[in-house]
């Protein structure tokens, strides 16, 4: 029915998500994942959910799929008069194929669940396999296929049940760059030619370019808890060209959007949730930080780089790059201005320094700007034996955040503290000390 032209005036709503909130775990103790999210998906559009890990985009996707029941709010499907009820299917990041079923059997799975007669099942499955470019592999087992072909099976399995809505959970992130690109193009072609019986597609991704390449509308999620921070319409005609200046500008805009601080948040404490020792620290290695500083310090960036260019250059996705950049900002080694990252003088000194001087600079920054590191060091200094059980700090953190976050935060600060030689940690005894700290 639809061509690219016909799809453009998206109007009829398909799914409405109303005030959905969700927490990890049970009761009020869990960390909030989604906070009052509302959105509407229309027919004939591809919508992207863009955000970092921890922004709850996968949780939202699973709420729409009916796999999770959100704590609050509801997901409402537009009524269909007469016809069959709306069906949804999902494509997984990990492909989620059954290794003991052949390609054909995997594709037939959903039809089997719907009690479709065997003949019809086979015909429809073969048609879907054909459509997705897998003919000849019907009797292969998933382990005989490459990653790209496995994801094709996942796609065939999803569309064979004639879903009105196709949900895709980071469908291309487990594939190599070339394979992902081919698969994206094939999917967009099928979509544009209207050869799939799908009314709308919702893609979760943390790849900004992918979102701009594929989507008609992008919802940018903020993290901890997940909220819709911005909605961006992409009006570029398909097929889109990555090198098109308008495309580049949009990508830059989204980077800026994602680095922008929400006005309510305190400016000086970076972008991590929580303040003081309650701040959740992301798992970022000091090696990666050093690498990033060196990269931005050297030509062609010379101290100032656009995040999009940097991501390109370093082959990093948003999920990797943002925590690193924000950690630099927390340590006052960098400032994020719009879509740019700007090194501070301290960072430029760091880039030129030798190992010991670097450690000294890092230690200074750590003790000055990371309250948890300060806290641990102060306790160790105060105690006569200069040792303190890690349990103590973990408990303290767990008062303010979930167990997982507490664990990760403590690991991170341990790693940073060890590198800076601000304190030492003994895993067997699970305690901090000043033993081999300078």
């Amino acid at each position: 029915m639809a061509t690219a032209f016909l799809r453009a005036p998206a109007s009829r709503p398909l799914v409405q998500v109303e005030h959905v909130s969700h927490r990890y775990g049970r009761g009020d103790g869990g960390a909030p994942v989604l906070d009052d999210v509302s959105l509407t998906l229309h027919e004939d559009e591809v919508v992207g959910l863009l955000g970092r890990s921890g922004s709850g985009k996968s949780t939202l996707l699973r709420s729409i799929a009916g796999l999770i029941r959100p704590d609050e709010g509801r997901v409402h499907f537009a009524d269909v008069s007469g016809g069959p009820a709306h069906t949804i299917s999902m494509v997984f990041q990990t492909f989620a194929l059954f290794p003991w079923l052949t390609v054909l059997q995997n594709v037939e799975l959903g039809l089997e669940a719907q009690r479709v007669p065997a003949d019809e099942r086979r015909t429809r499955a073969l048609a879907a396999i054909d459509l997705i470019g897998l003919d000849g592999f019907e009797n292969a087992y998933p382990k005989e296929l490459s990653g790209g072909m496995r994801q094709r099976v996942g796609l065939a399995r999803a569309i064979v049940v004639n879903p009105s809505l196709l949900l895709m959970d980071e469908p291309f992130s487990a594939l190599d760059v070339l394979t992902a690109e081919t698969l994206r193009t094939d999917l967009l072609d099928l979509w544009a030619e209207g050869r799939m019986p799908i009314k709308s597609i919702l893609i979760v991704t943390h790849n900004i370019e992918e979102a701009v390449l594929m989507c008609d509308r992008i919802l940018v999620f903020s993290s901890n808890p997940g909220r819709v921070a911005a909605e961006i319409k992409v009006d570029l005609p398909q097929p889109r060209d990555r090198l098109d200046p308008a495309f580049r500008k949009l990508v830059d805009d989204i980077y800026a959007q994602m680095t922008a601080r929400a006005p309510a948040e305190p400016v000086r404490d970076g972008l991590f949730p929580g303040t003081g020792i309650q701040m959740v620290l992301p798992r970022v290695s000091t090696n990666a930080l050093a690498g990033l500083i060196e990269e931005v310090d050297a030509s062609p960036f010379d101290g100032r780089a656009a995040m999009a260019d940097l991501a390109d250059q370093l082959q990093l996705e948003v999920d990797d790059l943002f925590p690193m950049a924000e950690t630099l900002q927390l340590l006052r080694f960098a400032e994020l201005q719009g879509a740019d990252i700007l090194l501070t003088p301290a960072a430029r000194r760091y880039a030129q320094a030798d190992v010991d001087a670097r450690k000294a600079l890092f230690a200074q920054a750590l003790l000055a700007h990371v309250p948890l590191a300060q806290h641990i060091r102060r306790i160790l200094d105060e105690r006569s034996g200069h040792v303190a059980p890690a349990r103590r700090f973990r408990d303290e953190l767990e008062d303010h955040m979930s167990e997982d976050y507490a664990d990760e935060t403590l690991r991170t600060v341990t790693h940073w503290g060890r590198y800076a030689e601000v304190f030492a940690y003994d895993e067997d005894a699970d305690r901090f000390s000043l033993d081999d700290a300078v």
Binding site: I88, A96, L109, Y141, P142, E144, G148
Partner: protein, 581 residues
């Protein structure tokens, strides 16, 4: 399409469609084998449905002509028990995984039952089953089958439960997303996913079962002595008559039987189950089985699996639950119901405690319990020393074998075979030795406890050593790491996780074996060591049920405490620190 096939290794497909060609030689061989097996089964089963008096009319004789028949009867008992264990596993473990409340009771129960000395059970089960079928062989047969069942069912069920709980979350989401009915989900996801570990566990359990089948065929409980036709009874008779040739024949028969069922049943099943292994890459080394290859080349494979396939089809036919797509319903458990459930459990526990206590202490005094505790300590000392000695011997040998791929390949099955071999067959020789040289039974009977179980240490260490990555070994070689340092920093940490698994199994088995190993006889000569095993064995012989119950309870407590306080921490340490992944 730029995609290429990543793995070109195996492109054979397992088509179920019948080939339309002439029957070949493989067809004939397989057919003859199947006919033979079928005939044997019928022949063996005929004996079961006869009255008990027949056993007295036709007692077990030491005529070699009958030995194959006896071996057959024993094997049928084994497989009957295995079938029962399988059914038990599928029902109970699924229930435990599906229902949270059932799981709360079933899981710890299985965990404990795994540690309970099975041989101690015999007293109760023989009496119970004979009561169920008075005057019939069937009752005694069932008792023997049940004894084997208790050696297999718990750990199979436990492994199945653990598999069900570790189903990959993405596959779980697919089945929920497509709203597969429970039956379909079970057949499509749960069962295939759990199959490889279930098969492996069944195989290990079967090995353990041989030990008990030998012990359970000829049993004396109080005034009742029953000898079922089987290798175990043959052996008991041979020991009573001091007949060396007969013992030799029994050993030979056992060896042949174990070899046959391994080659004809388990190897093919393991090779078949390989397709269910949850991995996304084709593995280079696939388990091989000539029998499986043979059957696969024939038209018989579909026929062979027809009952299984038919059962699956039938289940799917009957499964009329409508597919529904929609919101997952996670019901909040009602607090009242939850409390009620907990109270029910508490009441049951208290009642059980009271009943058991009343039963045991109706005839026994607290001092008896203290004495039994002392005996348990003696047995524990034996277990600890023996495990230590066996480790000293087998760890270096196992490491050496494991690092030589050629030897590992050849000796690994041998070690598994030795683990399956019922060591109680060899006990009489120890008695002869002890009597001849007038040795102290307290010391010299002890090695018997570990005779059959030490192999678990060996083959696990072999597996561990062959799993040490080549790069680590090369690095060690490059830096000239050798001698004690090599053991301390390369070999021992590398095999430790595997060693713990083996030693845990060996120690559990040794506790169990103490019941038959601490009191052994040869003709009229009896040799006894002090220990809990002797205590239980003697109480069984005299039909003193309260003492048996006390003995079993104390032994279970020791085994469980041992597992919790020694093996589990070691296991946790190995997982945390030494797992190479």
């Amino acid at each position: 399409m730029t995609d290429t096939v990543a793995t070109g290794g195996r492109v054979r497909s397992f088509s179920r469609i019948l080939r339309l060609t002439q029957p070949n030689r493989a067809d004939v061989i397989a057919f003859v084998l199947l006919i033979g097996i079928a005939a044997l089964l019928v022949r063996g089963a005929e004996g079961v449905a006869e009255p008990l008096s027949r056993l007295r009319v036709e007692p077990v004789t030491l005529d070699p002509r009958y030995l194959p028949y006896y071996a057959l009867r024993t094997v049928i008992r084994m497989f009957a028990a295995l079938a029962a264990s399988l059914v038990f596993t599928l029902v109970v473990a699924t229930l435990a995984a599906r229902s949270r409340r059932a799981g709360q009771i079933i899981v710890p129960m299985l965990d404990i039952l795994q540690s309970v000395p099975i041989l101690g059970f015999l007293t109760f089960t023989v009496t119970a089953f004979m009561g169920l079928f008075p005057g019939q062989i069937l009752g005694v047969e069932l008792a023997a089958v049940f004894a084997i069942f208790t050696s297999q069912a718990w750990n199979m069920a436990f492994s199945f439960y653990q598999s069900l709980r570790s189903v990959p979350s993405d596959l779980d989401e697919v089945t929920r997303g497509f709203a597969l009915s429970p039956v379909r989900r079970f057949l499509r996801l749960d069962l295939p996913f759990a199959t490889p570990s279930l098969v492996w566990n069944a195989m290990m359990s079967m090995s353990g079962g041989w030990f008990f089948v030998v012990a359970s065929e000829a049993i004396t409980v109080g005034n009742t002595t029953v000898t079922l036709p089987g290798v175990g009874s043959w052996l008991a008779l041979a020991i009573a008559r001091k007949d060396f040739t007969a013992i030799g024949l029994a050993v030979l028969a056992m060896g042949i039987v174990i070899l046959l069922y391994d080659q004809l049943v388990f190897r093919p099943v393991v090779a078949w189950a390989d397709r269910f292994r949850f991995e996304q890459t084709a593995s280079t080394e696939r388990p091989q089985s000539w029998a499986y290859d043979l059957f696969r080349r024939t038209r018989l494979l579909p026929v062979l699996f027809a009952p299984v396939t038919a059962l699956g089809q039938l289940l799917l036919r009957l499964d009329r639950g409508r597919a529904r797509q929609g919101q997952a319903r996670i019901r909040e458990p009602s607090i009242v119901l939850e409390r009620l459930w907990q109270v029910t459990i508490l009441v049951a526990v208290v009642a059980a405690l009271w009943l058991a206590g009343r039963y045991v202490f109706a005839t026994l005094l607290l001092s008896d319990a203290v004495a039994v505790f002392g005996l348990a300590c003696i047995t524990m000392l034996r277990v600890v020393v023996l495990i230590a000695l066996a480790s000293l011997v087998w760890v270096p040998i196992g490491v050496w074998i494991g690092l030589n791929p050629k030897w590992a390949e050849r000796l690994q099955p041998v070690a598994q075979f030795l683990a399956a071999f019922p060591a109680n067959v060899l006990f009489p020789f120890a008695v002869i030795g002890i009597v001849h040289w007038r040795l102290s039974p307290d010391i010299w009977l002890s090695p018997l406890m570990i005779l059959g179980t030490q192999w678990y240490i060996l083959f696990n260490v072999i597996a561990g050593a062959s799993a040490i990555p080549t790069d680590l070994r090369e690095a060690a070689g490059m830096f000239g790491v050798r001698g004690w340092q090599w053991w301390r920093q390369v070999a021992l940490p590398g095999v430790f996780p595997y060693y713990v698994t083996g030693a845990l199994t060996a120690s559990g088995g040794s506790w169990n074996a103490s019941i038959v190993a601490e009191a052994v006889s040869w003709g009229t000569q009896k040799v006894e060591a002090h220990g809990l095993g002797t205590f239980i064995a003697k109480a069984t012989e005299t039909g003193d049920y309260p003492r048996v119950a006390l003995g079993i309870a104390v032994m279970s407590m020791f085994v469980i405490a041992f597992n919790r306080l020694v093996w589990r921490p070691m296991y946790a340490f190995a997982e945390r620190r030494l797992r190479l992944a």
